[in-house]
Amino acid sequence: MISTMLDKRRVEKAASIVFALIVWQMFATLLDKSLLLVTPIAVVQRLISLSHQADFLSTIAFSFVRIVFGYLLALAAGSVLAVIAGRFYLAEIMFLPFITAIKSVPVASFIILCLIWLSSQGLSVFISFLIVLPIVYTNMLQGIKSTDTKLLEMAELFRVGWFKKMKYIYLPELKPYLISACSVSIGLSWKAGIAAEVIGIPDGSIGEKLYEAKVYLSSGDLFAWTAVIIVVSIAFEKLFLYLLKWVFLRLERS
């Protein structure tokens, strides 16, 4: 029953994608100006030719490593800061202006600031980190605050150690908050990271390729590299969330 429903959803999803591609193809054909809007078929052709170029994989790897590193760094830092803020109210108050500033300052301002402080090579790491940090921090802190106090009371009465409390009480309570934070922030880290690369133009990055597409008015390249970003970002998100859920499942069964 459940598998039939899942199959139905997959078919519906696939049908919606096919529909969107048909609409895109129709508009591009009607417009008949490849400079403004290329057809999906032309994008696929360009993607195939790009994939045969020597630097195709190294370009993806360049951006992937930096954006994912920034993302993981933010995940770790956001979690640690949330634990400290959850434990000490004063720390929460002290962190507030920093988190609010990171949340509200436009990404472009941070990018320009980063270009002054750092080399363009490390730009996407920093920007990806800044975008993800407040999301992880806010979600994790909310999770810590909503931890069942009755369970904590029980653990105190039985004189349970902090490691067991973490494993049996905090992590299961944090699971939905962490998964939600990760699922929201992965896509954002890619968007912001690539935007930073387009402005900073580090050599050998996807951002540089997008910048070149703009300079040479090559819509085909723009769409092809955008497709690459979407595929890599979604693949990473699926893999990461799968691993995260697997870790939690192992934890519950251990």
Binding site: L157, F158, R159, P172, E252
Partner: protein
């Protein structure tokens, strides 16, 4: 050492639950606290457990190592029964011994299920085993047999009696038959001007 409660008072807002309450709970013995709903049984046991502070009065002689069956089950829902028991045990405590306890109380077929999938009665029994196994100096039982059918209740009561011999136990119950079956001292609370009987 007996536990001595003197002139204990506790209010929640305008609602006075305990008013200069006095009682003595004997060491190495069972005390059943009975009384109508709202008379302060759970408040008293929570004060004894150290979970809430009294407004005035003193509690003397409560041992350091405590274990409890709370009014709610307070189990780690995502983990199975064995893990929930292991949660409160030292590394030294034998896992197979814990499994044996759970099997003795009728949970043999549900050992590996997350407790969120267990019935109310099964969860209650996991909570009871979790309180019994640690070598605590005092055991608090707040309506431990609620949600159990008659047959299971009898098995569970026998299990608790067998495993609490010689230990200090304070149990809250509504049911006089439960109190009689468990034996020991009976303390009846009638209202805010409670006195021990």
């Amino acid at each position: 050492m007996d536990i001595i409660v003197s002139d204990l008072s506790k209010s929640f807002g305008a609602n006075c639950v305990l008013d200069r309450f006095n009682a003595i709970f004997p060491e190495h013995g069972m005390t059943c606290i009975m009384g109508p709903s709202g008379c302060g049984k759970t408040t008293l046991i929570n004060i004894l457990m150290g979970l809430i502070s009294p407004d005035s009065g003193t509690v003397f002689g409560v041992p350091r190592l405590k274990s409890a069956v709370f009014q709610e089950d307070r189990l780690c829902e995502g983990f199975n029964a064995v893990s929930n028991v292991q949660f409160v045990c030292d590394k030294m405590v034998n896992r197979s011994r814990n499994i044996l306890h759970l099997e003795n109380i009728g949970l043999k077929d549900s050992l590996n299920q997350p407790v969120r999938e267990l019935s109310g009665g099964m969860k209650r029994r996991v909570a009871i085993v979790r309180a019994i196994i640690p070598q605590s100096d005092i055991l608090f039982l707040d309506e431990p047999f609620k949600a159990l059918d008659d047959e299971t209740k009898k098995v569970t009561m026998d299990y608790v009696k067998d495993n609490t011999k010689g230990r200090t136990v304070i149990m809250v119950t509504h049911d006089i038959n439960e109190a009689k079956a468990m034996g020991g001292q009976l303390l009846t609370m009638s209202g805010k001007n409670n006195n021990d009987n």
